[in-house]
Symmetry: C2
Subunit: 153 residues, 2 copies
DNA sequence: CACAACTAAGTTGTGCGCAATTAAATGACC
DNA sequence: GGTCATTTAATTGCGCACAACTTAGTTGTG
């Protein structure tokens, strides 16, 4: 056996590998963003706005805080984003009567109707990735583990 | 065998899977950003600035266009970023004498010296991900394939 | 009740990402 | 040689991400 632990991985390779992985993730995230941008242009949504709409379509009216927890976004990002969605007539924001600090976000009829037009989007993206379902699951699994680990650190 | 192609994957599952994957990637990218932010704070670099420095450390002086090609970033992002690196005293920018359109970016002595202080960063990130080398390779492979496929679409 | 501690949104400022445009230099073609 | 398309950076404008701070409402404790 090697003296201490595992097969040797020279520092230089680690440095290069890290370079590749961090850059790969950065590049992949932006590549996804680009494809979503094209697919969502017809709907008048940006990618982060689409994520917020997904949450609202799936879980219904909810406070800003809850949206932020689901998407890991803070009020600094969500407040102006939600204002834009409100200007676009897709959501309403109203102070909760029980807790005046809280603002409940709910879909307008127009926001509700947009869902039907958004349904074809995921399949288009899925096709564009060129991955199989199994590979997507693997990717998702790895990303989830990385995110959890990184969030703890 | 099933009539046409493969095991049935209901639409609803596809939609949810897509939701998970696009969100997972988004979240992972930001989680990486957060960890790099902490690791790079001592160096006074942001994550994209670090990527530019990596390119310069590895490949030496080069025009803005080449940096953009390596990192898939355009001048709209790079021009202000490079100005900040120049203000920080890490790089110099000078018009090429052969081609007056081109601007060559080169490290200053301070930029060169920063490399030594940046060396420990990758290992810290690697440890923070909690992944094995093999998993990192898998992740990188999948991300690379996705990025290529998405860029073509 | 008063007052400190906490919580939810919002605001401000900085930096990145990208589309669209501009300006200057180069190269090709007639 | 002069016109025109192409190339390289820079600029402008908009939206997102995040840190730091502010404001207003809530809760807990003496």
């Amino acid at each position: 056996m090697t003296p201490t632990t595992r097969p040797p991985v020279p520092d230089a390779e680690l440095l290069r590998l890290d370079h590749q992985v961090c850059f790969s993730l950065h590049a992949a995230s932006r590549a996804f963003g680009g494809v979503y941008r094209g697919a969502l242009k017809d709907l008048g949504l940006t990618y982060p706005q689409y994520l917020v709409m997904l949450v609202l379509w799936e879980h219904g009216p909810q406070p800003v805080k809850t949206i932020g927890e689901r998407l890991r976004l803070d009020s600094g990002t969500l407040s102006p984003l939600l204002k834009r969605l409100e200007s676009a007539g897709l959501v309403r924001r109203e102070r909760s009567s029980e807790d005046e600090r809280s603002v409940t976000v709910r879909l307008t009829p127009a926001g509700d109707e947009l869902r039907a037009r958004a349904l074809p989007v995921p399949l288009r993206i899925l096709a564009a990735t060129g991955l199989t379902i199994e590979e997507l699951r693997t990717l998702q699994g790895l990303l989830g583990r990385v995110t959890s680990a990184l969030d703890e650190a």
